[in-house]
Symmetry: D2
Subunit: 344 residues, 4 copies
Amino acid sequence: MEALVLERKDELSMREIHLEEHLGARDVRIALRRVGVCGSDVHYYVHGGIGPFLVKEPMVLGHEASGEVVEIGSAVDTLAVGDRVCMEPGVPDPHSRPTRLGKYNLDPAIRFWATPPVHGVLRPTVVHPADFTFKLPQSVSYAAGAMVEPLATGVYAATKAQIQPGEVALVTGAGTIGLVTVLAALAAGCSKVIVSDVQEPKLELARQFGAVTAVNIRSQDLAQVVNRQTDGWGVDIVFEASGNDRAAAQVFDHICPGGRVVLIGMPGAPIAYDVLAAQVKEARVDHVFRYAHIYPRVVAMLASGSIDVAPLITATYDFADSIEAFDYARSAPPTAIKVQIQMP
Amino acid sequence: MEALVLERKDELSMREIHLEEHLGARDVRIALRRVGVCGSDVHYYVHGGIGPFLVKEPMVLGHEASGEVVEIGSAVDTLAVGDRVCMEPGVPDPHSRPTRLGKYNLDPAIRFWATPPVHGVLRPTVVHPADFTFKLPQSVSYAAGAMVEPLATGVYAATKAQIQPGEVALVTGAGTIGLVTVLAALAAGCSKVIVSDVQEPKLELARQFGAVTAVNIRSQDLAQVVNRQTDGWGVDIVFEASGNDRAAAQVFDHICPGGRVVLIGMPGAPIAYDVLAAQVKEARVDHVFRYAHIYPRVVAMLASGSIDVAPLITATYDFADSIEAFDYARSAPPTAIKVQIQMP
Amino acid sequence: MEALVLERKDELSMREIHLEEHLGARDVRIALRRVGVCGSDVHYYVHGGIGPFLVKEPMVLGHEASGEVVEIGSAVDTLAVGDRVCMEPGVPDPHSRPTRLGKYNLDPAIRFWATPPVHGVLRPTVVHPADFTFKLPQSVSYAAGAMVEPLATGVYAATKAQIQPGEVALVTGAGTIGLVTVLAALAAGCSKVIVSDVQEPKLELARQFGAVTAVNIRSQDLAQVVNRQTDGWGVDIVFEASGNDRAAAQVFDHICPGGRVVLIGMPGAPIAYDVLAAQVKEARVDHVFRYAHIYPRVVAMLASGSIDVAPLITATYDFADSIEAFDYARSAPPTAIKVQIQMP
Amino acid sequence: MEALVLERKDELSMREIHLEEHLGARDVRIALRRVGVCGSDVHYYVHGGIGPFLVKEPMVLGHEASGEVVEIGSAVDTLAVGDRVCMEPGVPDPHSRPTRLGKYNLDPAIRFWATPPVHGVLRPTVVHPADFTFKLPQSVSYAAGAMVEPLATGVYAATKAQIQPGEVALVTGAGTIGLVTVLAALAAGCSKVIVSDVQEPKLELARQFGAVTAVNIRSQDLAQVVNRQTDGWGVDIVFEASGNDRAAAQVFDHICPGGRVVLIGMPGAPIAYDVLAAQVKEARVDHVFRYAHIYPRVVAMLASGSIDVAPLITATYDFADSIEAFDYARSAPPTAIKVQIQMP
């Protein structure tokens, strides 16, 4: 089949590739409809690897996807041919200890699309377990369906934070993950979200989401804004979504006594962590790794309108123009949030 | 001062009453602006008591209130004359064990407005501790400010439920408490709320709140609706807000495995509780008693627009017409939700 | 193979029975060493069924078991031939939604030994999934290994209660489940456990467990004891383990403000539940259904000596005398706690 | 009165000091009986300050104390003259926001004994609020009563960790705080505790506590021990009690997927914190600052015998020899854990 293949660092091609596609009893075959370009896809393109995951063989990219069911396995009773769906890109070993505990995202044996040596889905069809394939209601477009994956990260982080209705959150970083976290925090009950970044177009977008105070730390003092917005008490929660080591090191400055922190961003090296600052406020720090058991709730939130992801999709390319899409994403203009690819 | 006094069961009068009003160092004096009529006020009017609380002496009614600060005690530094405020009607003993544990609503010695022998606030001014008086931002009207008290019950119940974003809730009962719970559950992250009642106007109002399925159990099978809306899995949470013993007895029919129940309504007698039905789903049942530490978050939600209480205020009377207001509330027309009194 | 077969209500026989025993890749074959007689086994013997579970075909009894691995499937790498083990009697559908959420005990399709139509293990060997088979260290005897099943109920209830170290618990009921709950509550950090029953020998046994106050409610006022032991504050947790409807109805009398209740016992009919009594203390009520993910922790507690179950095993019979063992258990003398059967 | 006064860095004297001692309505006057020497006392002696807290005026040392009530205020009804008691050394502002939320230990205005400018209790009597004074049962000695303060830190950390019965913990550091945390973790339900340090006498002491594996990291590989003790899964909880920056930086190496960390030790500078290592296991990190609401539970645990602190008290001096006691503590021999002073 025709696919977008990362041949090696810096080299993409649209070409035929032979992929084994056995349909098991609990699987479905899906025709891809929309695929988002993720920062990790671009990272593999630019660097040829992420940490220990190196691209040694040609690999199909893409893991943020929606599609249409075109064939179902003999034991599948939750989906039917013609269903519009989105898919979790990671499939764990059902027998691993984390999976059985309900924490399948922590299974080291998880197979994740477009993570070497597992192929991604910038291709016409894919076979996937029905248990990790979720029906989209008519009101949720394929474009929105392909946003469920990044949005899942934000909603999962909001879930971990155990937000109480009316609390105030700070999100550091207004990239895709920061912005979906802002949306998730608002939908999860925050009365107000402060978001910080250095790129004005991203902050400008965040301001359109509602009760958001967007802070450009190039020109504004974040601590002052937090103080003013919380009468000097501090925010209830900080979501660190920038991966920037300085932002991560300062999270305890901004929280209130008893406040919580969720570290979502992935700094390139260990950060300087001020234990005493965390202790005097008895901070609770949670970490997230992708997400688990969250897709049905994210789809429900899109369906009910409590989250609208349309403003985040800032460019769409045809599948034939996938390389162009990646080169655009690679150039990272500040006005670009999510680039998607429309499948044939 | 002129006040609305419940002389005894069935007898209200607007008359002068002498009330001791010493302003302590940590107190403020407030000119009342808006006072809501609560079901408990009406219950005292009709029955002369609630459970062990009997009206033995004439008592001023009213405890859902907003106002303006007109004088501050010497140690008050969080409020100023002219501040627009709302007030918690219950003031606990600061030295009781529940209070020190942060659970002041469970202090048996709490003094609560319009609960014998404590006077309420249908009168020109009241002295109140600054710690239980909360500033209203300009965007929150006095009418909305006087709704903070009933809304607090709903937001507190939603807090207890530990809602995860995207969950589905059922609220049984669409009276004032049921409706504020619907609003709170949506604002706290539910993607969908099912609400049941027998009075169509109340259900009709609920339908205007957004992702709400309103069920008239006179004509519809609630279990069927729950099944349909949740693909047979059950709701994540039931908020029982009717106080009806049959509704309370059926909560476990509607929840999913691992689901939660919050019992808000106060049935007149013990209910029939099916332990086995709760066990096979490992239900967690929480109970709420008024609220604690919730006013600042409720005010923030009104200020941010995440909850709009205006549709719940269905009638407003002048203070001079307070008796008329109570007689209207007592007649309980199905279109009446919250009756408020505009103070002079 | 030779097995103890419940032919029908009131009729047991020791006889040959043909049982299909296919060893799958992830299974082990176990030679049974010790099997406990559970109240449910006796109930099937006496009544021919429990609720909807009716004995329509002859069924082998027994589900509290330890044994020795005699054969392993091709994919098993956690166990070896010769390992001493205990086994969870319930095996869920790995693909059900509760199982995937980590709550496999709530899977309605769970297959549980000696629950019609699934055979139990009073027989020489059984094939079982390795994932539900747990190695016993040398220091844990087969007799103790066969106690892991009932003990799991107590430890799981203690886990649900989220005991804080030093809290005080009340356990109502001193049968096997009540007693293992007392042991679990002490091992889980309670500084003191009050236990109530009407049978003196059981209370006498409980008194040997350490910081236990055993109350015979025939002669003592439980509320008075609770008050005295807690300076009038109430216990932090009530574990209801009697299944008695009056005991279950009174749980809220005994807890402190903010206290918790775990309902373990299974009353025959709905209980009278005092919602207001629960509300004024904001009780949290949890329910347990068997247990999940608890065997490794229970085995570890037996191995470390933090729980000693030896005193609970009050009679042991040879496999050949199984019918005698059941008739003794059926007679329910107050001095009998756990009857076990020594397999050949 | 005669007191042990820290005149300035390096200079202690036993001398008369005039201390204001007004007995308020809610206070009691206590004759000190036993006072422990804390690392912070010694730190003030050696360094003249801790962080921002500088000894600018002569200050009485000592904050781990037990005593006897000799006078009670007019509103005190929970204590009587002659009661044997222990005392929390920190008294918060009852009106601060953290205090009202039940988190009084986070109140920045808390007044803590022997923290400049507040005097400690190495002196004959002290006046203290009854709410922070706790009765000792006859079975708890004054020596044990003076251990409640350091023990409270361990029990509070164990409470934060939300230990499930049977879990396995690692405590890094076997100083006083490490050792009380080992005791607390065992009493709170851990089936096994691994503890690491470099001083053999401290590890030897820990081995006497029961199910403890004590690791000298000078000669053993801690990661290997953790692997062996947990079959490669990792411990459920790490309590970092050394304050050593390398130990703090390695906590995520030792936990299991979904594991928790409690940071108790106070490193002198920010630590290197590996966010990615925490993320792949979704660690939850809690921090503790002293303790709150824990004294009654600690006293109950001492009374029930679930914790025995006697082995930790390795030296006792008469009050007259207080300076000698401090010089011994300052020399920090590896066999010394807790030095106490017997008051006259």
